[in-house]
Symmetry: C2
Subunit: 262 residues, 2 copies
């Protein structure tokens, strides 16, 4: 359902090498192949991803930072906690979830990422990722090697500021999630979640009124701090109240204002 067709050019670059410390992993875990990126300068998501006012020189430089993309199949990880941090990523097609895990097995989904949204910012701090990023469907990401990005940011004031803004935005996003988890009822959480998603889809030119949830009820619950049964009950309640028309994963928002009033 999402934008651009995945870049599936098969000119695999040999440069890939070992992306990850390879821990126990369901299936064979090959060195992830990279593919040449189509350029930022012509990308339809540029307005979502990048500052609006880059000069053509800056765009050229940017193209030389974002040289490759990578395909991640549904259920596979882009990176996992404890992997060495190398690059920042931007979702190009598809969608991801990020999950932090406690030793005792407790899991918390900390976010869902759709095209144009960043991944990997958690890794800068310690040089090691602190969460897993898992594809919810077959997806593509742009790869921005962080060292090169940093160099670029020392040259470009605009790009420097953009990266600070991006990270600050992540901080603010997480704060409002804390508010959600700390102060809202199950009903309010789900409403806020749907409204947030609707807004993000709309900002990317998709319908905000009707969309397809790629994540399961369990994943939604794990994000919103409640059990899947409760998520399901709340969907049913919204349907009864004529706010949302859920059809499995297909969601139609009927009464936006009503949902906001919950």
């Amino acid at each position: 359902m999402y934008a651009e067709p995945a870049c599936d050019s098969s000119l695999s670059t040999p440069s890939a090498g070992s992306w990850h410390v390879v821990p126990p992993q369901p299936a064979v875990r090959e060195a992830a192949p990279r593919y040449p990126a189509t350029r930022c300068s012509t990308c339809s998501l540029r307005a979502v991803c990048m500052p609006p006012d880059l000069t053509s020189t800056e765009l050229e430089q940017l193209d030389s930072v974002v040289l490759t993309t990578r395909n991640v199949h549904r259920g596979e990880t882009l990176f996992r906690a404890h992997d060495a941090f190398q690059s920042l990523y931007a979702v190009r097609t598809g969608s991801f979830k990020t999950v932090v895990m406690h030793r005792d097995g407790r899991e918390q989904v900390t976010g869902f990422q759709i095209p144009g949204e960043p991944l990997g910012l958690d890794g800068i701090c310690s040089g090691t990722h602190s969460c897993d990023a898992i594809a919810l469907e077959d997806s593509t990401v742009c790869i921005m090697p962080f060292g090169q990005l940093e160099s670029f940011c020392r040259e470009s004031r605009r790009m420097q500021h953009h990266l600070y803004q991006l990270m600050s935005g992540e901080i603010v996003r997480e704060s409002s999630l804390m508010m959600l988890l700390g102060t809202m009822t199950a009903e309010q959480r789900l409403a806020a979640f749907l409204l947030d998603l609707a807004g993000r889809f709309q900002a990317r030119g998709y319908s905000g009124a009707q969309f397809n949830l790629k994540m399961s009820r369990e994943e939604i619950g794990c994000f919103l701090g409640m059990k899947l049964e409760t998520v399901s009950r709340m969907f049913s309640r919204f349907q009864r109240e004529g706010l949302v028309e859920p059809n499995g994963k297909q969601i139609r928002i009927v009464d936006l204002e009503g949902l906001a009033r919950v």
Copy 2:
């Protein structure tokens, strides 16, 4: 109880001007006076605040970015949501809480900051702060005008990286808070909170086993997503179980391992 004596030199700099859009505020809200900072190069918190490997030239430049400090009295705000973002701050003495507020009055404390910790990172994103920063006791902060800091970071690779690390660290901190709010019981939350605080005090050379909570039970509850009564009950439970010896705001951790096992 915290480190350094506050810099209370009264050579108020006239440069202060209007720091804030002044919304309804309990008392008189004057333009906050700034005081000359004692230098980063000689600050005992430097190891906590700044990258360890700055050259003497970089230290000099840093001193010229962090020219001023500001005193904030107990209960007063350093900045509030919707204030224009100007500067990043580092707590020098005392402590703060950051609070995000929903229109309907719901509040969530998103963090407590002790000496050496940053404040204001939320403002970069939109140029406007998204939370209130309120002093829990009479406190002092170092002021880092963000424009100057950005310039400095374009010149100093180390400083640039440090700021990225700082922001990434905030992202990781908030993720683990989401885990706390999303998956833990009231008992586990309070235990995790005490252990976190103990670690942070210890890292600053204070006792991790005995410390003074500057925040009320209500503020703790608002941070941990529970009511003050529940916080109180959990303290009592920890006391009964011989894990913690709470004496009002004075906390002594008796059984660190036990607390970690909760």
